[in-house]
C-alpha cells in the first residue's frame, strides 16, 4: 500500500534496506527540484525489475514521472530519456540482479557515452523477489536457493567495473544513513554525466548483512563498511583503485571526472552541421 493508492499491494519486508534508500531518494529529489527550480514532474525515475524497482510506486508526496520497464534495461531506457530531454533529471533505480547480471551489457557502452543521469543501485547480494537466488554480488561459497551447495563462481566487484568502464561519478554507501546517502545522490544528480551511487541495501529475509556491514561492538567484530578518508582525492584514478582494493564497503565518493556529456558533443555537431528537410529533399532531385 502506498500513501496515494490504497489498492496498491506491493510491500517491502520489515527492515529492508530499500526503505532507507527511498528516504534518501525522496530527499535528494526534493533538494534538486528546489535548488534548480524545476517542476517536480521534470524528475523521471526509470526502475528495474526486482524488489528495488517498486521504489517508483512507493515514493511519498508529489510524484515524479516513472517508467517501470523490463528486467535489465534501465540504462538503455534512461539513455533514451536523458538524451532526448536533457532538461529532465533522469534517475535509474535498480538492484544488483537487474543492473549487474541481465543488464550488465549496457554499463560499458553507456559509460563511454557519458549521458547525464544518476543511477542508484541497491545491492543486497541476492535475488529477493524470486526468493533468494545467487546474484552477481553474492559471495563465493554463499548458500542460496540456486546454490544449495555454495556459490561456485567469483563474486563480482561492481566498483572496480564502474571505474574501469569510465563511469564519471562513482560513490559507494549503505542504506543505514539516509541523510548522508541523500547528499551523495544529490551530488550525483548535479554531476554532468553518468553517476552511479552503489548502495549496500540488505535483504532482511534472504541475505541479512547489516551486522557484517556495521560490525558488532558487543562481540568486537569490525564492520566491513568504512568511511572514505577526507584526504582521498576522487579525481585520482590510482587512488580510487587503491581505495576499492582495500576491500570492504567504502562509504563516500570514490571517483569523479568531468568529460563532456553525449548531449554536449551532439550540440556542437548540430551547430556545425544542421540540416533541414527541404534541403535534404531537394538533394534527390533529378
Amino acid at each position: 500500500m502506498s500513501e496515494r493508492n490504497s489498492e496498491y499491494d506491493f510491500k517491502w519486508c520489515p527492515g529492508c534496506g530499500d526503505f532507507g534508500v527511498k528516504r534518501a531518494l525522496e530527499q535528494a529529489i526534493g533538494t534538486y527540484t528546489e535548488e534548480f527550480e524545476i517542476p517536480r514532474t521534470s524528475n523521471v525515475i526509470i526502475a528495474g525489475i526486482g524488489c528495488s524497482g517498486n521504489m517508483v510506486h512507493l515514493l511519498d508526496g508529489e510524484q515524479p514521472f516513472g517508467i517501470h520497464g523490463i528486467h535489465g534495461r534501465t540504462l538503455p531506457i534512461a539513455f533514451g530519456v536523458s538524451t532526448s530531454r536533457p532538461d529532465l533529471n533522469t534517475i535509474v533505480v535498480a538492484g544488483d540482479g537487474d543492473f549487474l547480471s541481465i543488464g550488465a551489457e549496457h554499463i560499458p557502452p553507456t559509460a563511454s557515452r557519458n549521458p547525464n543521469m544518476t543511477c542508484i543501485i541497491m545491492d543486497n547480494g541476492v535475488y529477493g523477489l524470486t526468493k533468494g537466488q545467487n546474484s552477481p554480488t553474492s559471495t563465493t561459497g554463499q548458500i542460496t536457493t540456486s546454490t544449495p551447495f555454495g556459490k561456485l563462481d567469483a563474486q563480482m566487484k561492481p566498483l572496480e567495473l564502474y571505474l574501469s568502464y569510465g563511469v564519471s561519478y562513482i560513490a559507494s554507501h549503505y542504506s543505514s544513513k539516509p541523510k548522508v546517502l541523500a547528499e551523495f545522490i544529490f551530488e550525483g544528480m548535479k554531476h554532468p554525466g553518468l553517476s552511479i551511487i552503489h548502495v549496500q541495501s540488505p535483504c532482511t529475509t534472504y541475505n541479512n548483512t547489516y551486522d557484517i556491514l556495521r560490525g558488532s561492538k558487543k562481540d568486537n567484530i569490525p564492520g566491513t563498511a568504512f568511511i572514505v578518508e577526507d584526504d582521498h582525492d576522487p579525481s585520482d584514478y590510482d587512488a580510487a583503485v587503491a581505495l576499492i582494493n582495500k576491500g570492504g564497503v567504502p562509504l563516500g565518493l570514490i571517483y569523479k571526472k568531468e568529460p563532456p556529456t553525449i548531449n554536449d558533443l551532439q550540440d556542437k555537431l548540430i551547430k556545425e552541421k544542421s540540416k533541414n528537410v527541404e534541403d535534404i529533399l531537394s538533394s534527390y532531385s533529378i
Binding site: 493508492n5 524545476i38 523490463i70 531506457i77 530519456v81 548531449n263 533541414n276 535534404i280
Partner: protein
C-alpha cells in the same frame, strides 16, 4: 525476323564480382535514363562480404512507370566466366549479352559479343572509363540516345575541379568507342521509344531513403539504431540528416538497446524510431511488449532479409510477418505498415510515426531488401502536405489517470515536465500506472490496448473489380510485381478483384468487407509458410498463398502463371 521490335521496356543487367562497379553502372544507366524522361527501377543482389563474390545489379528502363524488376534480361553484361555461365539463361529470346573479353570466353555461337573495355578505356585517355565504354555499347543495343548518356556524364563530372572538362571529354570518347564495338557486332535488341515524360516533378531515391525522409518530414525527433543489413542505410541516413535543434541520433550497442532507447525517448515526448532486420526484431521482442503494455509511442522499421538466424543477410524475403505482427509474449498484435513501392515508403515513414503518437504505442513498418535498396524515380513528395501529428498530451484534466477505460478516445498521455506525472508500467497496472494483479484491471486494460487500434483507420488501400469472387491480394514489396501479373491475367480475359492495403493491421474496413465476401483470396508472398494468408484465415477469410522462398523477388510472368494454377487447383 517476325519478332516485333521491342520499344517500351528494357531490362539491363550487369553481372560480375562485388566491387567491380556493377551497382555504379546500373545506377548510371538509370540516372541517364531518368534524366531523359524515362521511368526506372534498379535491383541488386550480392553476397554478404565487402569485396568479391558473385553479384549483379540491373536496371529496368521503361516509357511508363515501372512496377517490378521484370522478366527476362534484354541486355546482359558479364564481367567474368562465372557470371556468363550463371546469368545467360536469364537472357530473353532476342536479348544480347556483352562479355568482358579479358576474363571470359564463351564457347560456341549465340547472341553475344566480346568487348575489351579496359583497353578501349586506355585508348580514350582515361583508364577509369571502362564502365563508360560498356554503357556506350549497351546504349547502342537498345538505340538509346547517346546524348542522354553524355548529358549524364557532363552533370556527374562537373564538380568544379580544374580537370572537369578533360574527364568529361575522355568519358565521352569512351562512350563513343563502346558504341562502335556494338555497331560492329551487328546486334540490336530494339529501339527505345521517346518517353512519355511525367508532368510532375520527380526525385530519384531508394526505398530506405524515402522511408527516412518521410519520417523526418512528419517530425521525427530521435533515432537510435544498430547496423544490420539491409537496414544499415537508414542508420547512415539518419546520422547524416537528423541533425538539428532538439533532435538526437545515435548508434547504440545492440537492438536491445535501440528498442529501449526509443521507449525512453517516446515516453519523454519525442517521435522516436529505429530500424533493423529480422535478427534485430527478435532481440526487440521483449521491448516491443513493453511499449505495447505501457503504451509508449515508438516506431520500428524491419527491413526484411531471408531466413531465420543470420539467414540470407543480403537477399529479399517476406518472412518476418508473424514476428512483426505478434512480436512479443502475452496478448499483443502490433500495427503493421508494409509499403508496396518506393513512393509508398515515403508515406509509410510519415504514417507510422503519426500512428504511434495517435494510438500511443509501438508501430511496425515492414520493408524488404529488394525495396529498400532499389533506386526509383518517383513523384516528388509535397512535404507541406505531410502532417506532424502529436499525441494528446493535454494534462491536468484527468489527474494521474493515464490508463482509463477505452471509451472511443484515449486518455491523454502526460509528458515529463508537465502538470501531472504517472508511471509507465510494463507490469499490469491500474489507472495511475501502479502495479496490480487484480483481474478487473487486467481485463480492462487488455481490452483498452486492443480497442484503441481502431483509431488507425486512415491507411491507403486499393480495390478494383470488386464484383469478382476471386481476389488477388499482395502485401508489401510484392505489390508491384503482383500488379504486373494481375494485368497480364486481366489481358487474358480472366476477371479478378485487386485488393491492396498498405496497412496489414489494422485492415481498413472496406478491405475487410471485400476479403470476407470472396470465395478465394490469392496472396502472392515471399515466404514458405504463407504468413499473410495464414493471418487472414484467422479472421475466417478463404485465403491461400502463392509462395516463393528463393531469396529473390517474383518475376511477373511466372507469378501470373502460378496465380492461374492456384485458381485451377482450388476449383472455386
Amino acid at each position: 525476323m517476325t519478332q516485333k521490335v521491342k520499344s517500351k521496356d528494357f531490362v539491363i543487367r550487369f553481372a560480375g564480382e562485388g566491387g567491380q562497379g556493377l551497382v555504379t553502372s546500373a545506377d548510371a544507366m538509370a540516372r541517364a535514363a531518368t534524366g531523359a524522361g524515362f521511368y526506372c527501377q534498379t535491383f541488386s543482389t550480392f553476397p554478404s562480404q565487402i569485396m568479391g563474390g558473385p553479384a549483379s545489379s540491373q536496371v529496368r528502363i521503361s516509357t511508363t512507370p515501372v512496377l517490378s524488376n521484370g522478366d527476362a534480361v534484354d541486355v546482359l553484361v558479364v564481367l567474368n566466366q562465372y557470371a556468363f555461365d550463371n546469368h545467360i539463361e536469364d537472357l530473353s529470346e532476342n536479348g544480347v549479352c556483352i562479355y568482358n573479353a579479358q576474363d571470359c570466353e564463351p564457347s560456341g555461337e549465340g547472341n553475344f559479343f566480346g568487348i575489351n573495355a579496359d583497353e578501349l578505356a586506355k585508348e580514350s585517355g582515361n583508364t577509369r572509363a571502362a564502365n563508360m565504354v560498356i554503357l556506350g555499347a549497351v546504349a547502342n543495343l537498345i538505340d538509346f540516345k547517346i546524348e542522354s548518356i553524355e548529358n549524364f556524364v557532363k552533370e556527374r563530372f562537373s564538380r568544379g575541379r580544374e580537370n572537369d572538362d578533360e574527364i568529361i571529354k575522355s568519358n565521352i570518347v569512351a562512350i563513343g568507342l563502346g558504341v562502335d564495338v556494338a555497331k560492329k557486332s551487328g546486334f540490336s535488341v530494339g529501339s527505345l521509344d521517346e518517353p512519355i515524360a511525367p508532368d510532375y516533378e520527380q526525385i530519384m531515391i531508394t526505398g530506405n531513403a524515402a522511408l527516412s525522409l518521410g519520417a523526418l518530414a512528419a517530425g521525427l525527433d530521435s533515432y537510435y539504431g544498430y547496423p544490420i543489413s539491409p537496414a544499415t542505410t537508414i542508420l547512415i541516413w539518419m546520422e547524416q540528416n537528423l541533425i538539428s535543434k532538439d533532435k538526437f541520433v545515435f548508434q547504440v550497442s545492440s537492438e536491445i538497446e535501440a528498442i529501449n532507447n526509443i521507449i525512453g525517448s517516446g515516453f519523454s515526448g519525442k517521435k522516436a524510431m529505429t530500424a533493423t532486420a529480422g535478427p534485430g526484431v527478435a532481440l526487440m521482442s521483449e521491448g516491443l511488449g513493453l511499449a505495447w503494455m505501457s503504451e509508449i509511442p515508438c516506431t520500428v522499421i524491419d527491413i526484411q532479409r531471408g531466413g531465420p538466424a543470420t539467414g540470407l543477410p543480403t537477399k529479399t524475403e517476406q518472412s518476418d510477418l508473424f514476428a512483426c505482427m505478434f512480436p512479443a509474449h502475452g496478448d499483443v498484435k502490433l500495427p503493421v505498415i508494409a509499403p508496396g513501392s518506393v513512393e509508398e515508403c515515403f508515406h509509410a515513414g510519415s504514417l507510422a510515426i503519426n500512428w504511434a503518437e495517435r494510438y500511443q504505442g509501438p508501430v511496425m513498418v515492414m520493408g524488404e531488401m529488394s525495396l529498400a535498396e532499389r533506386t526509383e524515380n518517383i513523384k516528388k513528395p509535397d512535404i507541406t502536405q505531410v502532417i506532424d501529428e502529436r499525441r494528446n498530451s493535454d494534462t491536468g484534466s484527468n489527474g494521474y489517470k493515464r490508463y482509463q477505460d477505452w471509451n472511443g478516445e484515449l486518455s491523454p498521455m502526460p509528458i515529463p515536465g508537465g502538470e501531472v506525472a504517472y508511471v509507465a508500467n510494463g507490469s499490469e497496472h491500474d489507472e495511475i500506472g501502479d502495479t496490480t494483479h487484480l483481474p478487473k484491471h487486467h481485463v480492462r486494460l487488455t481490452e483498452r490496448r486492443f480497442a484503441k487500434l481502431s483509431l488507425l483507420n486512415d491507411s491507403p488501400f486499393e480495390i478494383e473489380n470488386p464484383e469478382s469472387e476471386i481476389a488477388v491480394m499482395p502485401w508489401g514489396a510484392t505489390k508491384g510485381v503482383a500488379r504486373e501479373a494481375f494485368d497480364k491475367i486481366s489481358d487474358k480475359g480472366v476477371n479478378l478483384t485487386w485488393l491492396y492495403s498498405m496497412a496489414l493491421n489494422p485492415l481498413p474496413e472496406e478491405i475487410m468487407d471485400q476479403l470476407k465476401s470472396k470465395k478465394l483470396v490469392i496472396v502472392p508472398e515471399l515466404n514458405f509458410q504463407g504468413q499473410w494468408s495464414s493471418i487472414l484465415r484467422m479472421d475466417g477469410i478463404k485465403a491461400v498463398s502463392v509462395t516463393q522462398y528463393t531469396g529473390l523477388p517474383f518475376k511477373p510472368t511466372y507469378l501470373s502463371e502460378k496465380i492461374l494454377e492456384k485458381i485451377k487447383e482450388t476449383e472455386v
